[in-house]
């Protein structure tokens, strides 16, 4: 399919057209070579490999179980993350969870302590 057609057709039609192209006859149909776009474009990235490797560690799996998430779910979550997002996890950047988690800061804790002292005096 010509590249120019992609912009003209709606993407559903384009995909249907794409998959209906006549199969090509190969000199050696047994031979298969796949293309890995990420490997070609991201040759510097190691964080994904490191995290994937860490998932084989029993201690890591045990910690994940304590957090209430199964290994399979973790793998899917990681697969859908960018390298930058994985790096944030590795570096513990932006790891505050949003929810109804009540965070009592140190200042607030000190203030509560002072109030208690004032009340019981």
């Amino acid at each position: 399919m010509a590249a120019g057609m992609v912009g003209v057709l709606s993407w559903n039609n384009a995909f249907a057209a794409l998959t209906s192209v006549d199969p090509i006859v190969y000199a050696n149909p047994q031979k298969t070579v796949s293309i890995d776009a990420e490997a070609i474009l991201n040759d510097q990235s190691t964080v994904r490999g490191e995290i994937t490797q860490a998932l084989q560690d029993r201690k890591v799996l045990s910690e994940l179980a304590k957090m209430g998430i199964q290994k399979g779910e973790v793998e899917l979550r990681l697969a859908a993350m960018s390298d930058q997002e994985l790096q944030q996890i590795k570096d513990h950047v932006q790891r505050t969870a949003g929810g109804d988690v009540v965070v009592i800061g140190l200042t607030t804790a000190l203030l509560i302590l002072i109030i208690v002292i004032l009340l019981v005096r």
């Binding site: 992609v6 990681l78 859908a80 950047v93 932006q94 949003g98 988690v101």
Partner: protein, 280 residues
């Protein structure tokens, strides 16, 4: 004298109780310029479905609200399974982005006030991570921005139990900045927002490939090639897509197109040689 002491102590206690709440909401006033509003109306309020938040579930609820117009069949339970971490009693920002892609949708980051206004004027609600406080409580929270009012200097948002609540934008933007300016919009793969960053689009494309969402990757790559005709990366992604659907001739064409745009790329040249040899 004893009465005075009690009175003074009561005032002190009241001040101590309320001061943290005031402090947590006391962000400096933000200033906007005419440039921020160029080509945008003074008042925007998008129609965004409202879902009242259940305890701890502000993340999945926010994602549900922005995804439902694109995928009406989605339920809160489905999204909770993709985003929620029980031990954290909440959802991590990275899991929110990951979940969006797993829902076959594409998230795009929003990193400035101008971009927030642009997204809202463009018709896209914005999921925003911000801090909200009351008395001794201090919460990090996901809300959905649905609009803004320039004259009143307010953002309009679905937050917790409140639908289209008007909030002073300095407070929202202040806490959003404190939290690392983390916000995003959601689009279908076939639609690239005007202000989309190339890096965001490519990250979505890679995620679709990893998840095996070939149609989504194809749709997004096509849009990227049209938007950024001089970038070679979408052609490489397209080459993988053609390769995976057993169209080696098209895959090779895509690789060669990428190489034309990036002739000094040795990895690309090697890939073309390897692929050509395999399918001669």
């Amino acid at each position: 004298m004893k009465g005075f002491c009690f009175e003074r102590r009561a005032v002190l206690i009241l001040w101590l109780v309320f001061s943290p709440a005031c402090a947590s909401l006391n962000y400096p006033k933000i200033s906007t310029t005419d440039e921020d509003f160029r080509g945008k109306p003074d008042h925007v309020q998008n129609v965004v479905p409202f879902v009242e938040q259940a305890p701890n579930l502000c993340g999945p609820t926010a994602l549900l609200m922005v995804s439902q117009p694109l995928r009406p069949e989605l339920t809160l339970d489905q999204i909770r399974d993709l985003t929620f971490t029980p031990a954290a009693a909440g959802s991590y920002p990275q899991d929110m982005l990951s979940a969006t892609r797993r829902l076959h949708l594409a998230p795009y980051s929003v990193k400035s006030v101008t971009e927030i206004l642009s997204a809202l004027a463009y018709g896209s609600p914005v999921v925003i991570f911000h801090r909200t406080g009351f008395l001794w409580k201090d919460l990090w929270h996901y809300s959905v921005l649905t609009g803004y009012d320039r004259l009143k200097e307010e953002l309009i948002m679905h937050i917790g139990p409140y639908e289209n609540r008007h909030v002073d934008w300095s407070q929202v933007v202040g806490s959003w900045t404190e939290g690392g300016k983390w916000a995003f919009i959601v689009e279908p793969p076939r639609k690239l927002p005007e202000f989309a960053r190339f890096e965001d689009a490519l990250a979505n494309d890679f995620a679709f490939l990893r998840l095996g969402y070939i149609q989504e990757a194809y749709a997004l790559s096509s849009e990227m090639i049209a938007r950024w005709p001089n970038r070679y990366e979408p052609d490489v992604v397209m080459a993988q897509i053609f390769s995976e659907i057993n169209q080696p001739r098209e895959a090779l064409r895509s690789l060669k197109r990428a190489h034309q745009k990036q002739p000094e790329n040795v990895a690309l040249k090697n890939e073309i040689l390897k692929y050509s040899r395999a399918y001669q």
